[in-house]
């Protein structure tokens, strides 16, 4: 398992860096936010930019060739997500490709794959993954019921914090067909079209100005063809897809944190108080040095998490362990550094004029998404203890 990018992966990272800096710099996210606030796009991303990403093949990266993918692996994807983080670029790459696409790749029947994979990879359709119900992510806590009614299933309940849910063509909904909340058994996955009768989608305006939605399912009736995989056995595929999403999100946080850190160190060198650059003060130097150390530690865990997703020698527990480590440590470093970035920028750090706040807000959302630090810490410990 290699913890550095290969030459091809580095090349992809360089291309992504160049492309995003030109087409989707932080200024573009700021504009998107301001227009969104005045009632512009509800999608939270620029559709034309997403089209270009698709044309460059990014949406095909993680999938096997027989499904129309490039089989370039999660590490390749991580190289892109790191650059996405640096520029705070918004797109449905995580929601529709990494998360929803992976569920269909891992749990979908041939017919379901034929119906959806090409459309997702081609950017013609979007699917959003609806898992969370409680305020904090915990996929085993799914309570939304799916009752058998003859040949059909009837889904009733709510989903919250569904990334890129507004404007999605369909949802993958995790629902309980057996067992009780907290149990991994008894969870089933359904594809629910956005226009299904009884489904209500409403926007949650989040502080990162991205697209998040609440779903209310009021007796949504679905045929058995909507079921992904076997009834009651959806958790494994769901968790595997979530792990891919977690490491990609960790890579995004790493990129965002790196960018924020670089900006802050630059500021320490140029901001003058008491006739000297504030970066000459040891009180700030030591804190900045610790930030650097944590950032490097986070990078190692992110590289390991990405590589683990592509490593056929690891089992699901081995992948889960490294995915949780990556999400935990990237979140930890992002948390420390975003707080320090605001503090070290002083009064300017709390103004909307600087981009520091945009990074702080996106990082906060990314930390909470797909499992916060406490969730992944517990998961890492339990997986490790179970292996011992």
């Amino acid at each position: 398992m290699s913890l550095v990018y290969s030459e091809e992966q580095q090349l992809l990272a360089d291309t992504a860096a160049e492309f995003l800096m030109a087409k989707s710099p932080v200024a573009a996210q700021r504009k998107l936010r301001d227009e969104g606030m005045s009632g512009g796009t509800a999608d939270g991303f620029d559709a034309a930019l997403w089209r270009e990403m698709v044309d460059m093949g990014w949406s095909a990266i993680p999938f096997p060739e027989e499904l129309g993918g490039l089989a370039f692996g999660c590490k390749g994807l991580g190289a892109v997500f790191e650059q996405i983080g640096r520029n705070l670029s918004a797109s449905p790459l995580l929601s529709s490709i990494v998360l929803a696409g992976s569920v269909i790749e891992l749990a979908g029947s041939e017919a379901q794959q034929a119906e959806w994979m090409a459309a997702l990879i081609g950017g013609d359709k979007r699917i959003a993954l609806a898992v969370d119900e409680t305020p904090r992510h915990d996929p085993a806590a799914v309570a939304l019921r799916a009752e058998r009614a003859g040949d059909d299933y009837v889904l009733k309940g709510t989903k919250a914090f569904v990334a890129d849910g507004v404007g999605a063509d369909a949802f993958i909904v995790a629902a309980r067909t057996g067992g009780k909340p907290g149990e991994k058994g008894g969870i089933s996955l359904f594809i629910v079209p956005a226009d299904a009768p009884g489904l209500q989608v409403s926007a949650m305006k989040t502080l990162d100005s991205r697209n998040h939605a609440t779903l209310v399912l009021n007796d949504v009736r679905l045929g058995v063809a909507a079921l992904l995989g076997a009834e009651g056995e959806g958790f494994a595929a769901l968790d595997a897809a979530l792990d891919r999403g977690r490491v990609c999100l960790a890579a995004e946080m790493l990129g965002a944190t790196q960018s924020l850190f670089d900006t802050t160190v630059e500021y320490l060198k140029t901001r003058v108080q008491f006739d000297v650059p504030i970066g000459s003060f040891q009180a700030l130097q030591h804190r900045a040095a610790w930030c650097y150390a944590h950032l490097e530690l986070a990078r190692s865990t992110v590289m390991a998490g990405l590589a683990a997703m592509d490593d056929p020698a690891l089992d699901a527990a081995g992948r889960a362990r490294l995915a949780s480590l990556a999400k935990w440590k990237a979140g930890d470093a992002a948390h420390r550094i975003s707080r320090e970035a605001v503090q070290m920028h002083g009064g300017m750090g709390v103004t909307d004029e600087l981009d520091v706040g945009l990074y702080l807000k996106r990082i906060r959302v990314a930390q909470a998404s797909l499992g916060d630090g406490d969730f992944h810490c517990q998961r890492y410990g339990e997986v490790t203890a179970a292996e011992a």
């Binding site: 130097q285 610790w290 490097e296 190692s300 480590l325 935990w328 203890a385």
Partner: protein
């Protein structure tokens, strides 16, 4: 014409034929072999492995053959290290002189010094200790006062060195001495090598809060040191000291690869001492979560060591990564022993005797021992200064002369 691949094949075959199987296992505590005038072997395999590697010149594989080295190119040396790692070969001996002083003598020594000092080192015959710190020169190393006064054909050395690891067991010392007290402090320092058997030297072991230690204080009372034992220019020792400290960091990380102190596995110890999940109180659960987080930090560190190795092999600049390793590891060790002490409760409060298990007593000693880790070998504060200045290139401040 031999290519690198041929070399790899030959090396692999030689190691497979010559490294005894028992030397390809994880090294238990206390099975390090220290080179020196008298080498102690615990078993025949240790002796065989030591002698075979010595005769091959592979105690110092990348030194020139004329000084007793293996004469390998840097590329071949990388291959050898990789093959040894692959076969999990133990290091045949530990010899800080080879790793730290050797490269400095190669770079700065005279031809005569190279011929005199290097071959015995390469044969593992001399055990070296380091005389840098003094009671009043710790983090501010350049303020050292041990003096070497010119007395014609020799220097007369007076003063004391402290925190000298194995000062009482070593054959020779390389030491920094003050040869000119009348110039700015960095400009009056020289590097000497001294035979520890010289009259006037006394090494006293130091007891620590954790008990017995390998550290010594070494006293010099009118010790005669021949002029030929000055390495590099007179009063030019500070440059050499910085080079040595660079090699020290590398040596320590190399040392860390195999000479891990008794490893306390946090999660299994937490499993043993904390109540089962279903009868855990919220406090037990919170403590277990702290143990998990600590284990994750440890994993992040070991992945970083792995990544640094990989980047170094790819010829990338790893000086930034290298600068955080000592800081992170020593701080983590301290944190880890705090968590362990909490997990063990009063079982972590034993000093000696039958009321406590051996592992519990070892844990207590290790907790006390961990305090030294963020002080020795460049305190955490010095490490942070180095990162701030060399890696982040933050500007010098009023206190900026520290930690350079």
């Amino acid at each position: 014409m031999s290519t690198l691949e041929d070399f790899r094949r030959e090396t692999r075959a030689w190691l497979e034929a010559n490294c005894p199987p028992s030397m390809r296992t994880a090294m238990p505590d206390g099975e390090l072999v220290w080179g020196g005038r008298t080498v102690e072997f615990k078993n025949e395999d240790q002796r065989l492995w030591f002698e075979r590697m010595r005769d091959k010149g592979w105690f110092c594989p990348d030194w020139p053959a004329e000084y007793g080295g293996g004469g390998l190119t840097p590329e071949q040396n990388t291959v050898l290290e990789a093959e040894m790692r692959r076969l999990r070969c133990r290091p045949p001996q530990i010899n800080l002189g080879i790793w730290m002083l050797g490269p400095v003598v190669l770079e700065f020594g005279t031809e005569e010094q190279k011929r005199e000092l290097l071959p015995p080192m390469a044969r593992g015959e001399i055990r070296w200790c380091q005389g840098f710190s003094e009671p009043n020169a710790g983090s501010d190393l350049a303020s050292l006062k041990t003096s070497a006064v010119d007395a014609g054909d020799h220097f007369v050395v007076n003063g004391t060195k402290i925190w000298t690891s194995y000062g009482d067991k070593s054959d020779w010392m390389y030491m920094l001495v003050r040869t000119n007290p009348d110039v700015p402090k960095q400009q009056g320092i020289s590097l000497l090598v001294v035979d520890m058997a010289s009259p006037g030297i006394e090494a006293r072991p130091i007891d620590l809060i954790s008990g017995k230690s390998s550290f010594c204080q070494v006293f010099f009372d009118n010790v005669k040191v021949p002029k030929g034992q000055l390495i590099g220019p007179l009063n030019g020792g500070w440059t050499l000291a910085k080079a040595l400290l660079q090699h020290e960091r590398r040596a320590m990380s190399k040392f860390g690869e195999f000479a891990l102190p008794t490893h306390f596995d946090l999660l299994s110890i937490a499993g043993k001492y904390l109540p089962a999940q279903d009868v855990s109180s919220p406090a037990d659960i919170a403590l277990r979560q702290r143990a998990y987080a600590m284990a994750m930090d440890e994993m992040a560190y070991s992945l970083t060591a792995q990544r640094m190795g990989e980047e170094a092999r790819a010829r990338k600049n790893v000086s930034g990564l290298m600068s955080i390793m000592k800081l992170v590891h020593s701080e983590q060790e301290k944190d880890k022993f705090e968590v362990l002490a909490d997990v063990l409760g009063h079982r972590a409060l034993g000093w000696e005797g039958e009321a406590f298990e051996a592992q519990e007593l070892a844990m207590t000693k290790a907790w006390l021992g961990s305090f030294a880790q963020t002080i020795a070998g460049g305190s955490s504060e010095v490490q942070l200064n180095v990162i701030a200045k060399r890696v982040l290139e933050l500007p010098e401040g009023g206190a900026g002369k520290q930690g350079k």
